[in-house]
């Protein structure tokens, strides 16, 4: 068993093994959906899913590190909406697009900073603070514009969302970039090590001289920024600034992160796992729609597949580990 170096490489690290198994679960899903509708496994549908999943991947990458550090950010969905309407409002008023986008990202940073600072300095639960922020950001979005803005958006509004470089849609490239940066940071930088330390054993990290507070605040700021970026990707793709988008997005993001192998209890997690988790979440609703499953049954199917995915994941993982131990 262990003879094969590739297999050995995979099972030698629990996290790596888990990621590979999650990938297998995804492939299984793809196989099943392809069987149900031939249009599922086409380049256009691949681009479609990828484009739709890009915002999820972007925000979930940021959420992954927040959760590795034992935090949580429920405000992402509302930040997405706020970012979307801020950028659109500014763009309509003639502010150059890069500046409008920048303003939206800054707003995300600001909300993230407020979240982080309150959580860290006051030592209160991230759930409540970011749930508060969820409400506040949604309210702000509605106050800016109660309905979607589209009249007067500049021609190049879609520059992020709909353009492509070669066959690769811009949203996907952006998501890949974000993932690459996060993967690099978590694995190859001091800051990355600090994230795991803070989540794994905050006291030990503090005693080792890690600046726990700054680490955490930075992660929340980045989570806000990435949620805002996700909002820009989404709203430039769909061609409007919409205060209604992103309701319930936080649960999707958290589901992606957890399917990807990061736990709420911190200290563990992998960006790559999250990407696969996000794609699983994205493929699921797309696949069910394309398979023509009746709308109400889709709820059931979604729930069943979600649970089955983690259960299969766990089982295979443990099975492989047991076999590995025996070999």
């Amino acid at each position: 068993m262990n003879r094969n170096p590739a297999i050995h490489w995979i099972i030698s690290d629990r996290q790596r093994l888990q990621t590979v198994v999650t990938l297998l679960v995804l492939l299984l899903m793809i196989a099943a959906f392809s069987f149900l509708n031939p249009r599922f496994l086409t380049l256009t549908n691949f681009q479609n899913v990828a484009r739709n999943t890009a915002p999820l991947i972007i925000s979930a990458s940021a959420m992954t590190v927040v959760m590795i550090a034992r935090g949580l950010d429920l405000s992402v969905g509302s930040v997405l909406a706020a970012s979307s309407v801020v950028a659109a409002t500014l763009a309509v008023q003639g502010v150059p697009l890069p500046l409008a986008f920048l303003a939206a990202i800054l707003l995300g940073c600001l909300i993230g900073f407020a979240n982080g600072a309150i959580i860290v300095k006051m030592r209160v639960s991230p759930i409540i603070v970011t749930l508060g922020a969820l409400n506040i950001a949604r309210g702000l979005a509605y106050l800016i514009t109660p309905s979607a803005i589209l009249v007067g958006l500049p021609r190049n509004w879609g520059s992020i969302g709909t353009s492509s470089i070669g066959p690769f849609p811009m949203p996907i490239l952006l998501a890949v970039l974000v993932v690459a940066i996060y993967a690099f940071v978590t694995r190859r930088t001091k800051f990355g090590k600090h994230i795991y330390a803070v989540g794994g054993n905050e006291e030990a990290a503090r005693l080792s001289g890690v600046n726990v507070e700054r680490t955490l605040i930075t992660l929340y700021v980045l989570s806000g920024a990435m949620a805002a970026l996700a909002g820009l990707v989404l709203s430039t793709r769909v061609g409007s600034g919409d205060p209604n988008i992103g309701v319930g997005f936080e649960l999707e993001v958290i589901a992606a992160v957890i399917i990807g192998g990061t736990s709420l209890s911190g200290g563990e997690g992998r960006i790559l796992g999250t990407v696969i988790g996000a794609v699983i979440v994205g493929v699921l609703s797309n696949g069910l729609n394309l398979s023509g499953v009746e709308p109400f049954w889709q709820y059931v199917a979604q729930g069943v597949v979600l649970i089955a995915a983690v259960v299969v994941d766990k089982r295979v993982n443990e099975g492989v580990l047991r076999m590995g131990a025996r070999a």
Binding site: R39, T42, S147, G239, N244, I245, V247, N289
Partner: protein, 351 residues
Amino acid sequence: AEGPVALAAKSFSTELCAPKDPAAVADIPKAVSGFTGYEQAPGDWLALPDASPLKGKRVALSVMGLGQPFFLAIKKQWEMLAEKYGFELKVYDGRFDAGTVQKLVDDIIADAPDAVAFAPLDSGAAVPQVQRMLDAGLKVVTYNVQPAQVVAPRVFANDFAGSQLVGCNTARYFIEKFGDKKAIIGVVDLPSLPQVQDRKNGFLYGFKSLVPTATVAQSVDGGGVIDKANPAAADLLQGHPEINVIFGINNDSSLGTIAAMKAANLYSPEWGVVSSVDGSEPVMAELGSDESPLKAESGYPPYDFSVATFNLLGATLDGKSTKDTQVVVGYPPIKPTAEGIEAWLSRQYPR
């Protein structure tokens, strides 16, 4: 003395009411969504043809959210049409969620059906959504909520005018029952939907046309779903015991209100008057009951919507429509008599 139902039937009218005091309604915003400028009758669009160009085609139907009787009726109607005219139907549920609707648009594009009947959620967001489908080469017709710009053939009802009629009838009943008692209005609202703002404004326009002295005490956000409308209505009644007119922007809102009134022991026609729009079955039971304060309703017609959309989609497939083609279906006030209710239900919510 006449019972409330009889009184409501007596004061009922299908006519709009002209403002007694134009100043009283001057400040009310006109339509913010939809195309109230068109007054085209549905005419032939409501007739069932012998054969349809949709035959043998793959058709996608989207709904705002399947949890409401209105959209369920739409789905049911379309399933009957699919059966009768021999086309393949796939129904997409928007779950009343902007994100879900965005994604289903993309999934429809990926699935590339021959024709799409699309129900937008937000007028603004709908414009690029429809545009995306058109760009992908799909034949699209929209119904119910309308894109804020003209992009594709559409079927809609005039939310302002329809609600204005309820406003008039609510006022007529109010005057009949309470004479010149001061009217104080509460609204169980859903402020994040522009279409709904038309309903609210239409109602106020109609009501204040006949009762210019009426004032609005408060609008609360009832979310358009019964479990959120209920506590909001309870708060409304609690905070403003002087309220004697409540308008619910859809049936969930008025039903949540009715439940709140029951809990607060206010459920009685002597309290005042409740009205709303939609005309679904449970509200018809209230409308026809002498115990209930709900005494005016305009019907939002699922059958008409379905058939008109079906026909327009067929025409679009045949190249017989342009993006300007639009069908306005009626938004009739429902006469609160047994016959009136039966007439409405049997056509729009056939069993």
